[in-house]
């Protein structure tokens, strides 16, 4: 799922995908070339919240399709 984080160096937005971040992917700032990745130590915590978020999203989508 797409999201944007401002580049800590040049402040330009870096498009990131939370799912890919959780899988260890790096995202590169298109402006300054900085590489961004989620630290392995933070992965379990983000994964937990993201699972809850996906559940909420599923609930919403099933509600909408009714």
């Amino acid at each position: 799922m797409k999201n944007q984080i401002p580049c800590p160096d040049c402040q330009k937005p870096i498009p990131v995908d939370t799912e890919l971040l959780l899988r260890g992917h790096e995202f590169i700032c298109g402006h300054c070339g900085l590489q961004l990745a989620l630290a392995p130590t933070s992965r379990p915590m983000v994964a937990g919240v993201y699972t809850q978020f996906e559940r909420l999203l599923d609930k919403q989508q099933s509600h909408q399709s009714r």
Binding site: I5, P8, L21, L38, S42, Q52, F53, L56, L57, Q64
Partner: protein
Amino acid sequence: MPDVNSGPALVSMAQQFTGLPMRALIGGPLNAAAQANNMMAVTQTNFMLDTCFNKKTGKDAAGNDTTTLEPIMVTMHITRGVITESESKDDKGQPTAEITNVTTQFDLPLLTIIPLNALGVDNVQVDFDMEVKSSYTDEASQSSSESTHAEASFDAKLGAGWWSVEVKGSVSHDSQSAQSTKSTYQKSNNAKYTVSVHAGQLQLPEGVTTIIQAFTNSISPITLGSSSSSQAS
């Protein structure tokens, strides 16, 4: 022959449309989407407060209960190429430059990497065609039909003297002719409308955006020991 000025009058288009529940046709789906979005805004906010913040309760100076929300932070690693002078020298005795990757870490509020804006109705499209017809047709038709049927038979004997032949046969003939005159007079009043209503991407509630912005603005990298001996400035 019918006359343009005679015959039943046409119903006015405006009159036809007054009966249509336009408000319900267009407003219904949009209203439902708006309500759903409203609900989602509350859900988004609650989700954000419940999962992306640590709640701390305490008491203020006056002894009243207070709740403080502290954002949960996640650690990100950033890697950047840094040009440094290496110890080796080129042919002219100048130190050569080399690019080394420097890894830095920084903390980011968890809420900035959860795509909260995915919660919400992002597209509403209401499309329908309306066609209102009012017509009057007068048809006059005259037709005549004629049919003839003829049948004849013959029986002849031809012969002369010593030979004869007998021929028997019949011929029949059918003929039908039809003639019709048709005069049609048609008054028609016709209106076709295509209604298309679109509500685009719905943004995060202003408050949520402000909170996210406030946190993202204060992102400050902290330099870590890198893969090389270099340190980011």
